[in-house]
Symmetry: C2
Subunit: 452 residues, 2 copies
């Protein structure tokens, strides 16, 4: 071994025979690990477990009463038959598809083309699709691809899905907030923010939006705003990242077209999820990225999807073949329509949305400056504004004293915001639990406002 030298800061300990390395320090690990946004996800994941008897409006999880482990075997069988009968694979090829390293872009691209046509009116090229380890990996791939150097930034309405904020933090991509109105993102403010960023020497790359029943706001964009957003994105030369986990849960209202189905300039990168339409544990999502990329070497595919697949080959290699087979089987059993597959869940969410809105009217009979809420047209979330700070300490007080959990809206802001708002998630509850939970919430509000 090389001789220890005096200018080595560890030389003294080593010479003294001390062999115990210093412990790691949090501030010597990646900055995201000290960022509140990562702590938020941990809090949101764990708080329900700490208060098992509370009514929880906190969990952003799908309804699970219709799940049945037997379905997993049926889905797997169905997908295996598809490989054999529809695609004409030999038994050895089926075995390879299910067990070996798979194509980076995945086994489901053809089935997704059908699904996107049937459910969303999107005409997709299978080469433009990459199956991902949940929608989360799709966001990570996009954020990694679009981050070249310190000038690159991304825009997103405030509030925004905490998983997107966390993904951006992991990929060192700053998120610049855009104002949100009662119809989702404010397109005028988006244009202002893009230009302000450019004027500051930055390079705005894309804007992230959930146009239908957004998490956490519950808001949806009007058709007019969708068209205006696409015009603005094309004019400003930025991409739109459309995240669409909730659009099927429209509570009986007319569905509006996805941004991707309206996209005439390939401005929209569409990220899709099976977490709410099939089940979250599978971790199957996908991205449609049909944007051409100039300057790629010969032999590489010409689309952004091909570049995302290259990144994926170093991130997770391929999406679990077993998960893909299970989700593929579910798609096949429903002729490619997750709308058909989720009719029962849709009814549950619509019923629960009515229960929340009816209950809020009953338990807060005099809304106004003190207490107000929005009226989502579907989805899993509503937002309640309250006349006191709704921070984590208030949440703990609410859980301890009143047995009701909710999510402080401040966790969905990259900067300041949402200090007096809470998100009510109603996807896993019964109408009776919703009523009980709202009565407890009313008691909390009474307690806090009386004390003030």
């Amino acid at each position: 071994m090389t001789t220890t030298t005096l200018n080595d800061p560890r030389a003294h300990e080593q010479a003294a025979g001390c062999r115990i390395p210093d412990p790691l320090r949090l501030d010597e690990l990646h900055g995201s690990l000290s960022d509140p946004v990562l702590g938020s996800m941990t809090l949101l994941n764990e708080i329900a477990g700490r208060y098992p008897d509370a009514v929880s409006f906190a969990a952003g999880r799908p309804y699970e009463q219709f799940y049945d482990p037997g379905q997993l075997h049926a889905h797997l069988e169905r997908f295996t038959r598809y490989l054999e009968d529809d695609l004409g694979r030999t038994p050895a090829q089926v075995r390879t598809a299910l067990f070996q390293y798979g194509h980076t872009k995945g086994l489901l691209t053809e089935l997704l083309v059908q699904n996107l046509a049937v459910d969303e009116g999107i005409t997709a090229d299978p080469d433009a699709i990459v199956v991902t380890t949940g929608c989360q990996e799709a966001m990570i791939l996009l954020l990694r691809a679009l981050r070249t150097d310190d000038r690159d930034v991304i825009l997103a309405p405030a509030p925004t899905y905490v998983g997107f904020l966390g993904a951006a933090r992991l990929m060192d991509m700053p998120v610049r907030p855009v104002r949100e109105g009662t119809g989702g993102i404010d397109v005028d403010d988006l244009v202002d923010q893009v230009r302000a960023a450019r004027a500051a020497g930055l390079r705005p790359r894309a804007c992230y939006v959930v146009p239908d029943f957004a998490n956490p706001s519950g808001l949806s964009m009007s058709l007019d705003d969708r068209e205006r957003l696409l015009e603005a994105a094309a004019a400003e030369g930025i991409l739109v990242i459309e995240d669409n986990p909730y659009s099927l849960f429209n509570a009986g209202a007319q569905r509006l077209p996805t941004l991707k189905s309206l996209d005439r300039h390939r401005s929209v990168v569409y990220v899709g999820s099976f977490a709410k339409t099939a089940f979250p544990g599978a971790r199957v999502g996908y991205v449609v990225a049909d944007q051409p990329v100039d300057g790629v070497p010969a032999g590489e595919g010409p689309l952004l999807a091909d570049q995302l697949a290259k990144l994926k080959s170093m991130l997770t290699l391929n999406t679990s073949t077993i998960s893909q087979a299970v989700i593929g089987g579910k798609l096949l059993e429903n002729a490619g329509s997750m709308a058909a597959a989720t009719r029962r869940e849709s009814e549950v969410y619509a019923r629960n949305l009515r229960a929340v809105l009816d209950g809020l009217r009953r338990h807060f009979p005099q809304p106004g400056a003190q207490v107000s809420w929005n009226i989502p047209g579907g989805g899993m979330f509503a937002v309640l504004s309250l006349p006191f700070e709704t921070d984590d300490a208030t949440l703990a007080y609410s859980a301890d004293r009143f047995g009701v959990l909710w999510t402080p809206m401040r966790h969905f802001y990259a900067g300041a915001g949402g200090t007096h708002q809470i998100r009510l998630s109603f996807s896993v509850l019964t109408p009776e639990q919703i009523d009980l939970g709202l009565s407890r919430l009313a008691a909390l509000v009474h307690d806090r406002t009386t004390k003030r």
Copy 2:
């Protein structure tokens, strides 16, 4: 919408009614996408498909003749019974475990404690384990955690597994090469490189090693070198990332202890894979990270594993529950021993290693300065040194003219190296294919050396 201003570079097109955004350019995407290392993975993944009739020594895939789709159902059933009978979960809890968002650290931590004890002599704390989307995600999490700013670098022997080089590139972590001798990493050179990096103002964080039958070199570290590596890592205050996908395939030789089982100072972060011991498609791996982290807020776990789980909650949320159930079922069917589960595969790899070494002696009867190879004690890989450049063009020539594929060793170097070497991977072949492939390789060598 805000009025278009003249200092907006897109104002002119916009005013002219032109709404077609500029295409993306490769040089405006993350630098990893222009790095040869990512192209390497694509090449390695796709070349076999382009030459279906060639004998391929290129694929680093496990043997697949023992796979059977029926096993998937059996594994899933076995894991479901374990949740019910061994862990006493109710049917509703089993449903939640299989279908919902899962614990970030995974469902298999207790089974992995058993597996690590049985197969590797490692005593692991379940809280120190994070189940990952393949070993690849474990490497990504570690590289992300250890990259604080531009000073952080990581060390790895040259050559190194291309998936590690790619993961480092994705996470913007420079890899500084360490010399490799006939027994794997050169520990003296590691110390020199750590000190040289420090002297250059850098912060070396860890050294990545595959101590047993490394990919691509096939080399293994002696027990003495393992002890010396641990001493050096502790003395220099760096972590050791031990990647252990091949150690069970020891071709009948005595197994040496893993670094982690010898680790007295918590210097070793151990990353494990089920890709070679169960099957790759599942994408299940794990990391054991029992290092304490100073300075974490109250409520967070005290170990590096807890910080890695925080990162994972924003990268893939959780590892596919279905994949975990299948791998868990396989572990349960084998009383936690993947050594027991892979007896037949071990025999195949040992037989094929003999066939390669015997065949090389027959087809290259006068080794020496012209042609030489190493003698691995197990695993799936051997390295052949040749008297001509072994680049991608030579590979294409070999495939076209001689019907034999191999991997240019240069793909496993972050910098220059391996220009006259090739990796022979023999895991998926029969002895007859190996003999045919080596005779074709001998013909290529004759062709190239005669032309010279």
